[in-house]
Symmetry: C2
Subunit: 152 residues, 2 copies
């Protein structure tokens, strides 16, 4: 949302920054989702497969923390992935409140088949910036993300 109204120099810069952040993120998410769609997964479903594929089985709560989504959301995403036979939930024996989520055989095959292709597509998208720009942007976003995590 471009704003031409003046709220002071600092506020204008901040507002414009957030607009561009939202816009770039939204555009990228949509392009990425379009790629992932070819494998029959949605964006959050892919994030789960990616996390479990790279890091191995983990609890529902840890997955949610990694993906920055709430527990209720995680439940729905896992319900759908479980229905499709991609992940399985195992109630922990030591602490019966905990559910550990892992990839099924089908899920592992899916991960191995698609992740490299998707990485290629992401790399292609990022290449609209030079490597130096990517590095610079990455550093700034990292600082921003870490700082925002501490707010409130």
């Amino acid at each position: 949302m471009k704003t031409t109204v003046q709220y002071g120099k600092e506020a204008d810069l901040a507002l414009s920054l957030w607009v561009k952040l939202a816009r770039a993120s939204s555009l990228f998410t949509r392009l990425s989702a379009r790629d992932i769609e070819r494998y029959g997964l949605t964006q959050p479903q892919f994030s789960v497969v990616e996390a479990l594929g790279h890091l191995g089985p983990m609890t529902t709560g840890d997955l949610g923390k990694k993906m920055l989504v709430t527990g209720g959301c995680m439940t729905v995403i896992l319900d759908n992935l479980e229905r499709d036979g991609v992940v399985e939930r195992v109630r922990s024996v030591e602490d019966r409140r905990v559910v550990t989520v892992g990839l099924t055989t089908k899920g592992t095959e899916l991960f191995e088949r698609i992740f490299r292709q998707h990485a290629t597509r992401i790399t292609e998208l990022a290449s609209v910036l030079t490597v130096e720009e990517q590095q610079q942007l990455s550093d700034l976003l990292k600082k921003l993300g870490l700082a925002l995590k501490e707010v409130q």
Copy 2:
């Protein structure tokens, strides 16, 4: 989603960039939404009020383009805002396919009451970066956003 697996230097940089972009955007969106919530609006509802407040009445389609959401989504957001008496829809006389959306008196009052406060909050959030960093980040995100808009 942090990945420690190697897919090549360039791919690793690209993947890490996208993770940080998604993370920063998600964190900001959540903090912003928490602020907006105090005024009884959701984030997309606020975006509509903001656009109409700054730029005046416009069509459903133009609003959707500005906010990067699909038409179907726009319909729902406007339905809810209209129900709450914040916006009104007027069928265009010249082209009867077109619907022009504008703020009601209540909507205008809301805009004037809340936008400055929200701008202050956004400025506060952005201040975790220096003004120079904000400017640099803004420039890089602008380049990225413009380039991604042209993809496909």
